[in-house]
Amino acid sequence: MSRQSNRATDSKKMNSELFTLTYGALVTQLCKDYENDEEVNKQLDKMGYNIGVRLIEDFLARSSVGRCHDFRETADVIAKVAFKMYLGVTPSVTNWNPAGDEFSLILESNPLVDFVELPDNHSNLVYSSLLCGVLRGALEMVQMAVDVRFAQDTLRGDSVTEIRMKFIKRIEENLPAGDE
């Protein structure tokens, strides 16, 4: 049975150039539509959020991962299962803060930026902002409010790409109004 499910996920693999180039076309379009980089970042993050909200269902259905018991487990699932499944890379999880509610994902390579060079006049553009939105949206659907941002980016000359994630709070299940 496990072999079968393996095959099902294998068959979902696709031409990643298509994804990378399409993402590039989107960013290019956004840069044309908005004057300012901050607005582009915000729009990418918003679109990522919308994707994340839907992607989590696909992920839970295909990965058979259950509820995470703590943030460390969440970090592991994101890095080892989710990134692997959707982008084909496995970031490393490091830089935990003492409280254990903040960590970094280190990406040696970022599939989103394969053919990308940032022109000088876009110094505030966070090219892969979409990823932040995806992570935030997906985690929100499993009752976790998190803050996600890029701390380092190879596009800006850093040696690795670092995504910093901070746990904010558990989102309580919303009871219908008037239901005690």
């Binding site: 693999k13 696709m14 399409t22 590039g24 076309a25 679109m47 982008l87 053919f115």
Partner: protein, 164 residues
């Protein structure tokens, strides 16, 4: 390797975005042409990045023999590398018009398998029309690509070659 779910979500998010940026009935055409031009750029890029494999594909004949040869490449290799299947039917009038039929078009399968949402189908095809036009353009063929759907998820892409 990326996962196809990711591309599908991104694609529909792009449609959503372009649509909301160009709201209003009269802007529908502009929305479609914006999606088309994004697809065009991606199609060009795909051929560029695939250039080596295109060369390998055409190893025996240094260039494509003729237009039909290019179209066959689009139907087989290009379509497989993008949508993981071949075009189901290719027809031509031998005067520069080609009709590529896909009986189960990847980007429509999630949407519907009937007449429901038929009015939204053009938005889901515009990007791919551009994709084909961009690919052809980088293979030296100038064209106009349109698409039509009668029953989802089957659709036909019509390629009109522009004589230079």
């Amino acid at each position: 390797m990326a996962d196809e779910a990711l591309f599908q979500f991104l694609h529909s998010e792009i449609i959503q975005y372009v649509n909301s940026a160009e709201s209003g009935e009269s802007e529908n055409g502009r929305c479609v042409s914006k999606l088309e031009s994004m697809g065009f750029r991606v199609g060009q890029g795909l051929i560029e990045s695939r250039h080596i494999s295109v060369c390998r594909f055409t190893k025996d004949t240094p260039r494509f023999k003729d237009e039909l040869d290019v179209m066959k490449f689009i139907c087989k290799d290009f379509w497989t590398s993008v949508f993981k299947k071949q075009i189901d039917n290719l027809r031509t009038n031998h005067q520069g018009i080609y009709v590529l039929q896909d009986n189960k078009f990847h980007l429509l399968t999630q949407l519907s398998a009937g007449k429901q949402y038929l009015e939204h189908a053009p938005k889901f095809l515009a990007f791919t029309c551009g994709l084909v036009r961009g690919a052809l353009s980088n293979l030296g063929v100038k064209s106009i690509v349109t698409a039509e759907v009668s029953v989802m998820p089957a659709c036909k892409f019509q390629v009109m070659i522009q004589k230079m």
